[in-house]
Symmetry: D2
Subunit: 427 residues, 4 copies
Amino acid sequence: MSLDGPDHEALLDLRRDLHRHPEPAWREFYTTARLVDELETRPLDELYVGPEVLSEDRRGVPDEAELATWAERAVDAGARADVVDRLAGGHTGLVAVLRRGPGPTVGVRVDIDGLPITEAEDADHLPASEGFRSENEGYMHACGHDAHATVGVGVVDAIAAGDFEGTLKVFFQPAEETVSGGEPMAQGGHLDDVDYLLALHVGLDHPTGQVVAGIDGFLAVSHFDAEFSGASAHAGGHPERGRNAVQAMATAVQNLYSIPRHHDGATRVNAGRVGGGTASNIVPEAAFIEGEVRGETTDLMEYMDDHAMRVLRSAAETHDCEVEVEYAGRAPSGESDGELAAVVADVAGDTAGVDSIRDRDTLGGSEDATYLMQRVQARGGLASYVCVGTDHPDGHHTPAFDVDEETIRIAVDVLSGAVERIGAERP
Amino acid sequence: MSLDGPDHEALLDLRRDLHRHPEPAWREFYTTARLVDELETRPLDELYVGPEVLSEDRRGVPDEAELATWAERAVDAGARADVVDRLAGGHTGLVAVLRRGPGPTVGVRVDIDGLPITEAEDADHLPASEGFRSENEGYMHACGHDAHATVGVGVVDAIAAGDFEGTLKVFFQPAEETVSGGEPMAQGGHLDDVDYLLALHVGLDHPTGQVVAGIDGFLAVSHFDAEFSGASAHAGGHPERGRNAVQAMATAVQNLYSIPRHHDGATRVNAGRVGGGTASNIVPEAAFIEGEVRGETTDLMEYMDDHAMRVLRSAAETHDCEVEVEYAGRAPSGESDGELAAVVADVAGDTAGVDSIRDRDTLGGSEDATYLMQRVQARGGLASYVCVGTDHPDGHHTPAFDVDEETIRIAVDVLSGAVERIGAERP
Amino acid sequence: MSLDGPDHEALLDLRRDLHRHPEPAWREFYTTARLVDELETRPLDELYVGPEVLSEDRRGVPDEAELATWAERAVDAGARADVVDRLAGGHTGLVAVLRRGPGPTVGVRVDIDGLPITEAEDADHLPASEGFRSENEGYMHACGHDAHATVGVGVVDAIAAGDFEGTLKVFFQPAEETVSGGEPMAQGGHLDDVDYLLALHVGLDHPTGQVVAGIDGFLAVSHFDAEFSGASAHAGGHPERGRNAVQAMATAVQNLYSIPRHHDGATRVNAGRVGGGTASNIVPEAAFIEGEVRGETTDLMEYMDDHAMRVLRSAAETHDCEVEVEYAGRAPSGESDGELAAVVADVAGDTAGVDSIRDRDTLGGSEDATYLMQRVQARGGLASYVCVGTDHPDGHHTPAFDVDEETIRIAVDVLSGAVERIGAERP
Amino acid sequence: MSLDGPDHEALLDLRRDLHRHPEPAWREFYTTARLVDELETRPLDELYVGPEVLSEDRRGVPDEAELATWAERAVDAGARADVVDRLAGGHTGLVAVLRRGPGPTVGVRVDIDGLPITEAEDADHLPASEGFRSENEGYMHACGHDAHATVGVGVVDAIAAGDFEGTLKVFFQPAEETVSGGEPMAQGGHLDDVDYLLALHVGLDHPTGQVVAGIDGFLAVSHFDAEFSGASAHAGGHPERGRNAVQAMATAVQNLYSIPRHHDGATRVNAGRVGGGTASNIVPEAAFIEGEVRGETTDLMEYMDDHAMRVLRSAAETHDCEVEVEYAGRAPSGESDGELAAVVADVAGDTAGVDSIRDRDTLGGSEDATYLMQRVQARGGLASYVCVGTDHPDGHHTPAFDVDEETIRIAVDVLSGAVERIGAERP
């Protein structure tokens, strides 16, 4: 590692190593440990991990057995046991700090978790043919967070080698895919002095060479887990002794989708994963819905959420069952600040490999980066969600998704360039 | 093994060994092989296994991988590999034949499969405290089929040592719990010359010492597996691109339970196991229902089945999905013949340990012994379904179910006594 | 009117006059007044009408405007205004008492209300061709209550002319079709000294000449009116401001029919009349269900009722609506007493025109005569529900229903004969 | 009538007379005849009524009996019988043509139908206190179409008295409230040479003195009437013989509201009026839904409509019923042309009584003026939907709605001023 800036070959090795070890939300043990290894070789001022970067109130954390399985798997794959120990309880993620004299504090946020998708094995899927396909069968970096984490390291390298005056903080956030990592990281304390925040995503149907300086139109989202419980009975002998949790669940599904549409804007609802019962001849005692509601604004999401909670309770009651509902993750809507996006657009115009710049685009999905953006904006700071395009052979969240690695270099250049420009111009 | 009749100690050992190795429908590899081992030491005239006892058209057979897992497990537990090989494709079950000169052919039918229930570990659960709890974790003989199979062997012993003239055939039927073994065994050829058939069940809420000579009131039943398929989509971005299989399934569940009740008698319906979808933010592409319908008569079951199939198809269509439905098992209703039950009642009156005899009782559940009974009755033969009571600490199909082993001796005596009396009296 | 017994020509005139003036539940003003006219010419000891024969707690009584309309129509058709005045508030019905010295008190119960069915006009419909078709368009005696009331008068005539010793009470009950008249008449006081009760129905798919001495198998029934209320809104502009009462109603309908079937016997449920909303572009503010539940026993009916009430409440809550439920009528299950039925069968055997006698039959429907029967049975008395067959061209409750008038004579003979025999034999 | 321009006193009399005689869609007999009376006194070149202004393919026309009732009522109220005769079959509406030499053809579209709403009787409701409350009880001009029709006459007066060169056509359209009059009038031929079209609405929450020059954001809408038919049965005796149309309807309602939301914009669905069945103890044979779907674009409306039709069919099939669906009215989405709106805004700025001008506003509801606008725009013409504000005491479509009559003068001045300016400027 020199102070001559990012070593792109090394960054690609890092990205491929992370790609080989995708880990789902709150189980990013190998990923966090590998990033610690990497960053400890950089001239950082501070490096925080695990409980040091997250507030205590976290949602969607798996049980101890599941955490232990993944922690063990991480160590087996070469993760440092002392780091994994610091992540006990699934406190994954880290924050790297580089202090370069007086000046603004600029944050860069990247996310680091993978998805429960089985990666393609076809010869025309580059990770397969080049030997860095997922080693955690059934899991995959199918949304580019391996590239995001790598860019976070690259930005540290670029700023360490450059002229930036001020403080750089890179947030490596866990559990974005379940929109559960953003809120505890936003409340973890490290954002409270950040003046400017840049959040990154690659791809999103934009090709390599295109940059979107500020993304808007995040749908606010809330995930819930509903567990219905009734009483089982022999379906032939004594159906009347049952309290049928599957009927309760089905009634809930039917009525969740029929929550009234809203004058003020787009709403969404989905009962994405459901199940219940044990055998065809037993009245089902238990059933569940893993679902979500969304809204074009946080108010609209809350409108949907209020209705959904009432539907879940009433549907249970309809069939004399009980229901327990837990929130599994949540994110507000959000907007990028135009002044900051303008800086990004300017820098992108000067960046090699960028041939198309769009000022704004609409996401139409959800992202818990909005928690971090709101935290900064609430204090008067500026935030922008930046998209760096990448040619991806198939859609996000599909088995054949992949990133064009050239994107990593472009993203490092755009983000570090923007950090430097912010330091100079304080928009 | 002497010709002095059943060795009850040996029978109890057999029962406990079978209890330790419960195997679900079409996977009774250890059980079949163990029974072959046992029966080969008896003076049988013929012993048929696997494809020799079943017609080809079987429902609910698991896939090859699942079959291979259980076959391997059986061999690991000590089953003879050569026998297991003969059961390829899950052709489990056997028929033992003892030819004792001219006279009627009398069949005895016992079933041999276990259930997907995790057995109790409590000290007051005898199999746990006595060391013969299930070694196939998650599976259990929770309906007494271990005792039934043992009684089948005991009847061979008793008849071999006695005066019976005629032919005895003992049918060890697989896959009763999924009502899928009865039909192929009924069509397997070995019943076609049976003049009298006795089918056995222990317990059914009757205490040790009580015998019911003829059970009636079997509900006809049909199990189905419905697979709904639609199209997935991002629930936030493009819900309109989805064709929601979970909505289709939920619509089906709601409407299955609301098939009109029927003037002619009792009907039942159950969506016993359901599921669908992959994640809260994906419009579900696939869903399923494992369900059943029943009727007090076969006609009533078919009424329910016709309606259920239409509901499944229409519910799929409602949400622009497809549905594939397969029958997973089926049994008609059935009646015991009074003349034959009278013989059983008579013999029971002379049997040590029997202190209460009931001529008739109503089951209120389903059983695919009815296929075998109908096969015999269709040719003019007589059939009766006999219950030998047993003190069972908890209900059938519960983790703490157990049989009072004294029941095994009583059942062997009642059934073999009835076989002898039938040979003598030809009712 | 002589003491030589019933004048059958006069009775047929009475029946046809009642047939011309069918009146629905609690609106039997003309009918009651006409019967008073008729009975005042008989040598009765007492004649009670309206509030004198009913307890105060009545269900399903229409509003004042509706009552006024029918009262006025009755007077216009020739009903005596002074009698109609006594029936204020829809207190219809009467009880005739004939005291003939010491001896048992024997009750005969007939019902008098019509149905909201438009009578056939075809030439082959006798009331049309013979000129006594309904003059209250949209209403019809389609269940033979015109004949029942006539038989009640005929029995008075027969007993007045005969040797019976004891007390005869004939109960002319209103509001049977809505099962709302039976309960208040049972609680009206006049049954409290009745030792034997005979209730009558003609037809029920039994031909002229056949008598069923004792009917059993009444389904207990409970009718309910559910009114859902929410909030209207413009369906295009602000759907979220609505609280959709039609969605609540539809959710209730779906779940009412799916109340679990019951081990102990037959159950029924029906959402027989529903409605809601005002225009296609308004979110519906109000909706209703007029429904019923039934059970083979009163317990089974109450099981269904408990579930139905919970479904109605929960369905309203699901869509943020309210629901008000009122019971509109109710009847328990019931059994005829064998000793009393035996007397009826005996008498029927001696009656001209009777060529077939059945001891028992099962109704499969509901009847609130069961309230009167239970009242008598609770005090140790005996009751039987007697069917006198009649050739009816089309089913009960259809526009072309009619009774064979010969049935009236047979019914008078059988019932009056049974009353006399009871007086003599005190079974 | 002079050529000095509109006589505002006379126009107010006309408006109040129309207000006293509100008539619903396709029943505007009095209204049409009254307008003919009025317009025949003007110096028109042509006046077309009834079948002369509508294409043959009309939706939502009531049956002959209903039409006859309203035609008779109109004549009773003073309408000329010869005009009413020309409107046979409910061909209401008219087109007035004034030809003033060469120049563009300018259309003005007003609608004339009332609503099925009972008008307020309170003293603070001006039509009640001033004696022009609705004489057609249960119906009301609750959306200002009485004022619209009056403005149409006033514009004729103003143009007749002014300098306009070109052709003026005033379209008095029936059946707007059911969105069924717009399409046949658009196809009636009289629009085919119109170069500019101004459509008018008063109010819409804009106060007196405010004008909106061009309204956009019409939701495309389609109304449907679905009739479900099954088979009735006795709910207690033979529920299995029924094919339950109310269950079909309820299943449809549940699934209509749960049609997936759409990425491309707002969608709506409503089952606004439903009903079914005849009595609580009869399995319902028939049921209906009067419903609608809407979309922010015509494509989105058609997406909803496709799904709705499939849901209706499948829900019927689920319960073994049939369904017939008829379209009852339809309107596309629409946009006002900016160039034409600019002219209106200019003129409004010069009009006495106008103190606030808005260039654009969004409707958020539906209107079948869009059919007429599209007809003109398809030929290269320009169209704008103009709102002239009015202080209305309560919302549109409520019993206490009323218009501030000053609005009529302003609307006449703005529209006639715009017609003159168009003639002069040809934007």
